[in-house]
Symmetry: C2
Subunit: 361 residues, 2 copies
């Protein structure tokens, strides 16, 4: 059976959830995937780095207490050594899940570049390198014949990038718009229920939806990065994030809420990218009072959704979780499946291909 | 460039929409598909049959007035001659789009069988053969190495069967439920607005959503066939349609509507198939008063939607059109793409494979 060795760059919630799935559920996962996974390297700002080409005991490292580090383990160091580990380890695939830097995508973008330059496939859930460097990193991957997959960068495990690429053949997509941030959507729902902005944000923090600093969620900069990714991946146009006019939800007053409700409208923070008559794309983030018939109007709470407007099929919407440790770890798993499929197809004998695609044949 | 010759069985709204797209938009369609389409045979109860191995002039046959027939044309006959045409024509792919027979799926099931037995791929939008004979027809197709595709049998062009097959790798789907009939969903929305059942049905008929006899839409038998297809294609379990307990929306009273609204609930006609602890599937069709947080609660008007409940990802919903001539014709086009992909992959050289799947590689 095929096996892929992984390097986990960043060992926070998402990477740990992936490690737990691989460690706790190995037999079932292998049966569903048709291949095995083994972690041979981990780096993390807090824990340092750990390189064990024979496979890391995930149960052991998952049980390490906060504040400890990998320093005392064989192949371990208290320093992350990201570049050295990414370039030098024996992993087939680098899993990039460090923090998002909305300014320049670093150091995640360098992590991706080092991985590709040293012949390793990449999967990431990190918006930064994708929103800001997808074109150059994608070109690098293509040149090397490697995969650069990032389904989790927009709607966690909800497969909207792959949906756009594979489920809408022979259609022209004229616009893509979405509810791309669960915190702001939850807050707007609570605002409609009469709760103040401050109290709603506090609730979202208690529920674990919102960060300690909720600015990126509430003021739209998180959505802006996702709109840049959608514009590039769905419409094929690079839109610099600085050109995406962005307005968050903090300016919506109680009166706005009451007035919209009286007309049967619902405020939503909508990120959108629409083709223009001139062949470009207009991308923006703003609160919109949607009529009940709009496909995004019924998306409530922390759920996210993306609506594709097409020529022959009209509007099609995919809704699902947009965050969550396990849900985002699933995005990585779906990327690993895509990497395996592409890799297998290059070398697969004819009968294996029929097996892969012959479900209804 | 690859070409596929088509036989259109049934020349009603959907087949005509497909013929219009092929005829009016050939250059753009070819560019998007990467292959050409040519219609070499048409049969229809009203028009009879027409077989022209060199390609039928679609503009001409689309302009034929109602009440005329193919009798006077070269290769034409006033009789449909379905069996003879399907078995004997030179088509690569048979497009089955005759009426749905909910009892035994005939004659569409025979059309599919004749096509497969004579070495032709099949695409259909017809619920009958799929809901009642998918297992045997699928086995026949597999034996012959042919495609049997039917994306349009559940949600017209909205790709929910292919979504389940391809977009949820390594997930266990525990239940699938949907709003699978646009007419009844439109009527329920109007009922909430205070309109009587009879008046709402009349409106739906005027808008072209409902048939002259709306029984199949209102009483749930249309949804029942779709639930059978979902149970088989998504959960892998054959459920006879006679075992699907079915209740339509005609029993919902004004008091039911008022009471639900007072609790913030919305009545929806839900078709569902859920895995049971015993390894079987419980399938049913019934009106349910859904809370606003349910992913199907916000699906309004003629829009349809399917929610998949999964282990790692929770609930994911795909919403879009569930009817319409062009939207359903698009389902056929998406099937033709799937047939081409599978056929190409069996014979494709390595470099062509990389081209097909290497978008992000």
């Amino acid at each position: 059976m095929r096996n892929y060795d992984l390097a986990l760059i960043g060992f926070g919630g998402v990477s740990r959830a992936l490690a737990e799935i691989i460690s706790n559920d190995a037999a079932r996962l292998t049966a569903q995937l048709g291949f095995t996974l083994r972690v041979v390297a981990i780096t993390d700002l807090a824990f340092g780095s750990l390189v064990q080409p024979g496979g890391i005991d995930l149960e052991h490292v998952l049980a390490l207490p906060r504040g400890s580090d990998f320093g005392g383990l064989p192949g371990g160091s208290a320093e992350p050594n990201n570049r050295e580990v990414i370039q030098g380890c024996t992993a087939d695939i680098v899993v990039e899940a460090t923090f998002t830097n909305p300014s320049d995508g670093e150091p995640a973008a360098s992590h991706v570049r080092w991985a590709l330059e040293s012949g390793k496939h990449v999967t990431t859930t990190n918006k930064g390198p994708v929103a800001l460097h997808a074109a150059s990193l994608g070109a690098l991957a293509a040149t090397r014949g490697l995969a650069f997959e990032f389904e989790g960068s927009v709607l966690s495990g909800t497969p909207i990038l792959r949906f756009a690429q594979q489920m809408l053949p022979a259609l022209t997509v004229t616009s893509v718009e979405g509810i791309l941030n669960g915190t702001s959507n939850y807050v707007l729902g609570r605002r409609e229920a009469g709760v103040s902005l401050e109290a709603a944000i506090a609730e979202a923090q208690q529920l674990g939806y919102a960060e300690a600093d909720p600015t990126a969620d509430i003021e739209g900069s998180d959505v802006r990065l996702k709109v840049a990714i959608l514009a590039q991946q769905v419409l094929g146009v690079d839109v610099p994030t600085t050109e995406i006019v962005t307005e968050g939800i903090s300016g919506i007053t109680d009166a706005d809420i009451v007035e919209a409700a009286a007309q049967g409208l619902r405020w939503k923070l909508v990120g959108s990218a629409t083709r223009t008559a001139e062949g470009g794309v207009e991308a923006r983030v703003r609160p919109v009072a949607l009529s009940a018939e709009h496909p995004l109007a019924g998306i409530t709470g922390p759920t996210n959704a993306v609506t594709f407007t097409t020529d022959l099929l009209g509007q099609v919407t995919v809704a699902g979780p947009g965050a969550g440790r396990v849900e985002t770890a699933y995005a990585l798993i779906s990327d690993l499946v895509a990497i395996d499929r592409a890799a297998s197809q290059r070398v697969a004998p004819e009968d294996e291909l029929v097996g892969l695609f012959g479900a209804t044949l």
